[in-house]
């Protein structure tokens, strides 16, 4: 999806190198990496939604509600991703505006 690509481009560029402890194995993972990974998930859901819509149109889908649910999931995750991006950009701008 093109929307996701735009976000990906924006987010990665504007991310400073913040290191964050990974809660799972204690290794250091940078925030941009986490964000990138999650964006990939969002993108996958968009693709899945597209795929199931295609199946509905071609008559392969057996349940209409599953198609709608996939679309809904894609919409909601994208919305969440946009919210997170906005927060990150907001924080970034706050830092940029700082007087030296």
């Amino acid at each position: 999806m093109s929307t996701v690509n735009i976000i990906e481009g924006l987010a990665i560029k504007e991310q400073p190198e913040i290191k964050k402890k990974n809660s799972m194995d204690g290794s250091e993972v940078s925030l941009p990496e986490i964000f990138k990974e999650k964006l990939k998930d969002v993108n996958n859901l968009q693709i899945q939604s597209d795929e199931s819509t295609k199946q509905l149109i071609t008559g392969e889908a057996d349940n209409v509600h599953e198609v709608l649910l996939n679309t809904e999931e894609a919409v909601l995750t994208l919305e969440l991703a946009v919210k997170v991006r906005n927060k990150i950009v907001e924080a970034y701008q706050e830092v940029i505006k700082m007087q030296i």
Partner: protein
């Protein structure tokens, strides 16, 4: 993703209710069917639901826990009640006394089952919309 588990539970309800609707539709369609694969008239079908539980490993504690995955159709059983006997000597499947064994389907009962399935489907959609509304509300935090 864990946040969409509620959706999946509601979706399983939708799938199950659709299955129930399918059996009702089959029962109504075959309300006067006297010939089947197994021989004899059609037997009324009933969808039996089962709670769908799944064992899952907890990521932090490493212990397995049971989580609900909603509902699933366990099996489709046949109603064991006796067939209806209808007097119709002209019918090709009539016995010597002129009686025909008709399916044990009561269309009125099927209509009631159909309404129940429709309403249950609606209820699942409502639950789904409510969980979606909750998610959207959560997105509004800090705005």
């Amino acid at each position: 993703m864990k946040i969409f588990d509620t959706f999946k539970i509601s979706a399983s309800g939708l799938t199950a209710e659709k299955m129930r609707m399918d059996t009702v539709a089959s029962n109504i369609a075959n309300a006067t069917t006297t010939r089947t694969e197994e021989g004899g008239p059609y037997r009324r079908k009933i969808a039996v639901f089962r709670e769908n539980l799944e064992k899952e490993l907890d990521r932090i504690s490493g212990q397995s826990e049971t989580v609900s995955r909603g509902v699933k159709v366990d099996s489709i059983i046949e109603d064991p009640t006796p067939f209806r006997l209808v007097y119709d000597p002209m019918h090709p499947d009539a016995n010597e006394e002129g009686y025909v064994e008709m399916p044990n389907v009561n269309v009125l009962n099927e209509m009631v089952d159909m309404i129940a399935a429709t309403r249950a489907y609606e209820a699942n959609v409502t639950a789904l919309n409510a969980s979606k509304a909750m998610f959207l509300k959560a997105l509004e935090i800090g705005r």
